[in-house]
C-alpha cells in the first residue's frame, strides 16, 4: 500500500512542478533547464523552517508557513537568476539556466547546516496526499485562469513573436521575469510538499537529470497546455512503474523501453499529447 501511495504522492508533486515549468517554457516560451534547482531551493528552505525555526503551531498552519517559505525562497532565486539570464534567448538561456540550477544544487551540497552531501534528515511529516492534490488543484485553476486573462495572453504572445508582442505594448522583460519568478515560486511550493511528505532531502534529488524529466513531462503533455502538464506528469511517473510489473525481460529492460515509447510518441505527435490546447478547450474559450 505504501508503494502505491508513494507513487501517487510523487505524481501529484510532479503535476505542480510540471505546471510551474509550463508557465516558463510552454506559456512564455523561455527555455529553462534549471527547474530542479528551484524545486530544491523550495524544498530545503521549507525544511530549514520546519527543522530549525518551526513555531509552536498546529501542523496544518506550520505546513502553510513552510509552503510560503518555499515559495518565497524559490521565487527570490528565480528573480536572482532571471534578471541576468532573461536577456538571453533560446539555447543560450537554456545553458545559463542549466548552470544556475547546478550552482544552486552545489550550494546545497556544501552547506553543512542542511546536511550537505549526507542529506537533510528529521523533517516533520506535515503534509500528506490531500495536501499534495489540493495544491495541485490550486495550481491547475491558477494556470487555467491565468491563461484566459489579459496577463496570460501577454505572456503567450511573447512565445509567439517577441517583436510583435512588444509592439502590442507588452513589456517583454517584465512579463518574462514574472513568469520566471512565479514559475520558480510554484516549483518551490512543490519542493515544500516533497520535503514534508518524504521527510528526507538529498542534493541528488535536484540535479540536472530532474530538470530534464520535468521538461519531458511538459513537452510530452503539450507546451502551453494545462491539461497536458497534468497528463504528462501522471504518465511519466506511472508508466515506468507499470513496466515493473510487466514481468520477465520487460521489467529488466523498462528503462530502455520507456524512452523508446517516448521517442515513438514524439515522432507521432511532436506537439505533445494536447498541443497547446486544453481538454474541452473550445467550451472553455467561449465562456471566457
Amino acid at each position: 500500500m505504501d508503494y502505491y501511495l508513494q507513487i501517487l504522492l510523487i505524481a501529484g508533486i510532479f503535476i505542480t512542478l510540471t505546471l510551474s515549468l509550463n508557465l516558463i517554457n510552454g506559456f512564455c516560451g523561455q527555455f529553462s533547464l534549471g527547474h530542479a534547482g528551484f524545486w530544491g531551493v523550495g524544498a530545503y528552505a521549507s525544511a530549514v523552517y520546519s527543522v530549525y525555526y518551526a513555531l509552536p503551531l498546529p501542523a496544518a498552519i506550520n505546513m502553510m508557513i513552510a509552503i510560503i517559505v518555499g515559495f518565497i525562497a524559490a521565487a527570490l532565486s528565480g528573480i536572482l537568476i532571471g534578471v541576468p539570464c532573461l536577456r538571453l534567448k533560446g539555447d543560450y538561456l537554456a545553458i545559463a539556466t542549466l548552470g544556475f540550477g547546478e550552482i544552486l544544487r552545489i550550494i546545497i551540497t556544501n552547506t553543512e547546516k542542511i546536511g550537505g552531501p549526507r542529506g537533510f534528515i528529521n523533517i516533520p511529516h506535515w503534509a500528506n496526499i490531500i495536501w499534495v492534490y489540493a495544491i495541485a488543484a490550486v495550481a491547475v485553476v491558477f494556470m487555467i485562469n491565468l491563461k484566459r486573462s489579459s496577463f496570460g495572453r501577454a505572456i503567450i504572445s511573447i512565445r509567439e513573436d517577441e517583436i510583435a508582442s512588444e509592439n502590442m505594448g507588452v513589456n517583454l522583460f517584465k512579463y518574462k521575469l514574472f513568469s520566471f519568478t512565479i514559475g520558480a515560486g510554484i516549483a518551490g511550493i512543490a519542493g515544500a510538499l516533497f520535503a514534508h511528505t518524504q521527510q528526507f532531502l538529498h542534493p541528488s534529488n535536484f540535479n540536472f537529470m530532474w530538470s530534464v524529466i520535468i521538461l519531458v513531462m511538459v513537452i510530452l503533455g503539450g507546451q502551453g497546455s494545462v491539461t497536458g502538464s497534468v497528463v504528462g506528469a501522471i504518465v511519466l511517473t506511472i508508466v515506468p512503474e507499470l513496466l515493473r510489473f510487466a514481468g520477465g525481460n520487460i521489467a529488466a529492460w523498462r528503462m530502455t523501453i520507456f524512452p523508446v515509447l517516448l521517442i515513438l510518441l514524439m515522432l507521432a505527435r511532436p506537439q505533445g499529447i494536447f498541443g497547446p490546447h486544453e481538454l474541452g478547450g473550445s467550451k472553455l474559450r467561449s465562456k471566457a
Binding site: S150, M168, G169, A288
Partner: protein, 259 residues
Amino acid sequence: MSSILKLQNVTMKFGGLTAVNDVSFDILAHDLVAIIGPNGAGKTTLFNTITGIYSPTSGSVIFNQKDLKNIKSSDVTELGIARTFQNIRLFKDLTVIDNIKLAKHTRIQYGFWDGIFRTKKFHLEEKKIEDECLLLLKLFKLDDKKDFLAKNLAYGQQRKLEMARALATGPKLLLLDEPAAGMNPTETRELSELIHLIRDQFNMAIILIEHDMKLVMEIAEKIFVLDYGNLIASGNPKEIQNNKRVIEAYLGAEIEASL
C-alpha cells in the same frame, strides 16, 4: 490643426552606414501620408526609429508634444503609435480574435488578481473587449473567421488582421509598412477604401510605406520621398510626380514607361 508627430533632424547610423540622414517633417493629426523611395532608402528604419525599436543617433522624435527619447517600444504603443510589419508578424498559433484581444493589452482595466479569481470586473471587462474586438473584425470582414488560427488565413486576410490588430491598440497614429505587398488588384482596391475608412472612423493620422504607386498616388494627401536616407522631396502627389529629383532618383523610369 495641431501636429501629432514631429521629426527633428533625425539621423540613424549603424556603424559606418547612415540609414536615415537628417530627416525632419511634421505630421498633422488627421494626415494621410505616404513615404516612398527605392529599396534600402531607409523607410522601414524610419518606422523603427519612430516606434522606439531603434533610438536615433541624433535628432528627436516628438509625438503628441512628448519626446520619445529613451521610451521603450512597448510604452510607445501605450502612448498611441501602432504599426504593421513589412513581413507579417501575427501570433500565428493563436486564434484571430485572440490576436486582436492581445492588442487591447495596454487598455485593460482589471488587475492580475481579477483574472486569477475571475471577479465580476474581469468578466465585465472581458465581455467589453470581446465586443469591441468583434466590431473591429466585422469592419475588416473577418468576423466569420474569428476562431480560425491566424496562420490558416489567406495572405490578404492576414494583412488585414495585422491592421485590425494595430488599430485595436487604440492609436492616434498608425504606421503601415507596405500594406499592399502581395495583394492582388481587387484586394488593393479594397485596401485603399479601408485605409480611408479607418482614418475617418477612428480619427487618426496614417503614415504608410508603399511601393504600389497607383495606391500611393490615389490615397496619399502628402508624400515624402527618401533616397539613401535623405528626404529629397515632399508635397502632394502631383508635385511629387513632377519633381525632377524624385524622377531622377526613382520614379523616372516608371512615369516615362507609362506615358
